[in-house]
């Protein structure tokens, strides 16, 4: 039983990491209806820039952080200006393809800029079990995972406050609801989109730092996006709580399935299990757990 709970907690904490990546998707989808496939590449870009600044230019941790943040916001602004603005009013699939194009571009760009070697990222947190939990319950719970969960909690709270309590947040929700109506009441659409892409860039930086510290900063970071997709459809594309709950469900069930079902079928089911799980959820709730219900009329 202890083992079961250990796997469960490990899975839940890993799920929080998925949620972090999924958050970036949700932000952009909510505000502009764009399904931003480039989020994974943005995570890679953020982590590589952060590490590259530290290692290649000898910049300290606390100086590199705002610099990387600035780079991400700049990337968001440029994307909005160069890619999205000319594609306003195009069908969603076109915008989706444009973000896949952006993914290719970023992948090449990052590797030219910072090289394609794997770099380690040190956050001062070891991936080792917390001693007092092991002593009292016999379970191994990673210090690093707990810290990551804490960071995610803070981030989500900040975003929730930002969306619900500030003027910009209200404008964001208005834009998400109806572009035209938002424009009609005088909300600057392009400014709002720029802000959203900037915020999504910042979220990507946090996700990139945590994932980079765990797996090393390398090209494989872009595949993190593929882990976040089932989280997204499970929770609903336009729901921030959905991204968190979806992440927890996916993380926990994925680890449990790998441990308990995996050996029966030859292992390696982590790659597709979340997708099939999400598919089952979708059959019951076609808009995800927390997604806005789409009412269709003729």
């Amino acid at each position: 039983m202890t083992f079961f709970f250990e796997v469960l907690i490990g899975g839940l904490l890993a799920g929080v990491m998925y949620s972090l990546v999924a958050l970036g998707f949700v932000l952009i989808y909510k505000a502009s209806g764009v399904f931003n496939f480039a989020q994974g590449a943005m995570v890679f870009f953020a982590a590589a820039t952060f590490v590259g600044l530290q290692q290649d230019y000898g910049i300290g941790f606390w100086t590199a952080l705002p610099l990387a943040l600035a780079a991400m916001v700049l990337l968001g602004l440029v994307t909005e200006r160069v890619v999205l603005r000319p594609l306003v009013n195009q069908p969603q699939i076109t915008l989706f393809m444009a973000t896949i194009g952006l993914t290719f571009f970023l992948e090449g760009f990052v590797q030219i800029l910072w090289g394609s070697n794997v770099r380690g990222l040190e956050l001062g947190l070891a991936d080792e079990p917390l001693q007092w939990i092991t002593d009292s319950t016999g379970m191994n719970v990673s210090k690093f995972d707990l810290a990551a969960a804490g960071v995610a909690a803070v981030l989500v709270t900040m975003l929730a406050v930002f969306f619900n309590r500030t003027r910009i947040g209200r404008a964001l929700r208005a834009v998400a609801d109806d572009h035209q109506a938002a424009l009609a009441v005088g909300i600057p659409l392009q400014q709002i989109w720029a802000i959203v892409w900037g915020v999504a860039g910042a979220v990507a930086l946090v996700a990139g730092m945590l994932w980079g510290a765990r797996n090393g900063v390398q090209f494989a970071l872009t595949f993190v996006a593929l882990k976040a997709l089932p989280v997204l459809i499970l929770g609903g594309f336009d729901s921030i709580p959905g991204a968190i709950v979806g992440g927890l469900i996916v993380g926990a069930s994925e680890k449990l399935a790998e441990v308990y079902i995996g050996p029966l079928v030859g292992g390696g089911i982590e790659g597709w299990f979340p997708y099939v799980l999400a598919l089952v959820f979708l059959l019951i709730r076609p808009e995800g757990l927390f997604g806005e219900k789409i009412i269709r009329r003729i």
Partner: protein, 358 residues
Amino acid sequence: MLYREAGQFKTSYAADAAIFPIRQDRFAVIALLLVAFVVVPFVATPYIFTGILIPLLILSLAALGLNILTGYAGQLSLGTAAFMAVGAFASFNFMVRVPGMPVLLAFAGGGVVAALVGILFGLPSLRIRGFYLAVATLAAQFFILWFLTKVGWVTNYNPSGVITAQQIVILGYAFTTPTSKYLLVLSIVALMALAAKNMTRGNAGRSWMAVRDMDVAAEVIGIRLMRAKLLAFAVSSFYCGVAGALFAYAYLGTVEPEAFSLDLSFRVLFMVIIGGIGSILGSFLGAAFVTLLPVLLSVTVRFLDSNLGLHIAESTISNLELMVFGGLIIFFLIVEPHGLARLWQIAKEKLRLWPFPH
């Protein structure tokens, strides 16, 4: 002046229902086929056959399949490569397990198995729409590839996972030279493209387009949604399955799951989007664009590299190619969101009026 239908009267129902009602179109298609069948085999080098023309044709077929599903029936799919893999592996198993199996029948069988798998993974489309469905089709991509690697029976318990494809032999003639393979692929692709063109003009195609434009409205006017959607998945997967079998047998020469990665799914989707969604011609144009672009890019970069003496590192070149590829896709989407097929349409309209401006 050159291209217009004035003076061409339709005097029979057969003429009214012709695939290419305008004489110039008919001649252009016949001329194109003649060039492809007669002239190209004499002109092209083996490299052009194996490196460019064969993959181009096969990927056109896959793009055609995806275009039926995404462009005509409006169901976005990211699992194309998986259905291609099903086709390839099913053909391989037909060849291994049925003694004296004709190759063409094995290819068709691969297509049928892919169609059945396509129907299975198309079932969620009855409830899920849009991007939710797109992500759900990723389930097909990951699950099928995992299945093909893990289950030994499908690979005939081959320890390495990379199986050498059997030789293509039809009526005692072995298709081993690039030219013969090219002609075989070309014949299959041309026939299937013709069938697709016909299908999209008929009952099936029209109900797909109705479902694409608004499925609730389509249901109201009496189209059976389940039938239309599942038929689209089946036909699309059949095309992808045959394309996958050809990809393995006529192009790669091996049957392996790694060849059908998510990357290939995206590339086929690019072909559809860049070529033109909901257009048979667009599938070919898109496949040509996506296949030729990396070739042109690497030739250009290598040319610049050797002539200007820049000595760019190999990894930098491949990364540059990625950047340019991504950038060009964005550029094309911005300047012509309706794809290359739309450009061709504009050109035809201009030709109709030429040399007058209006």
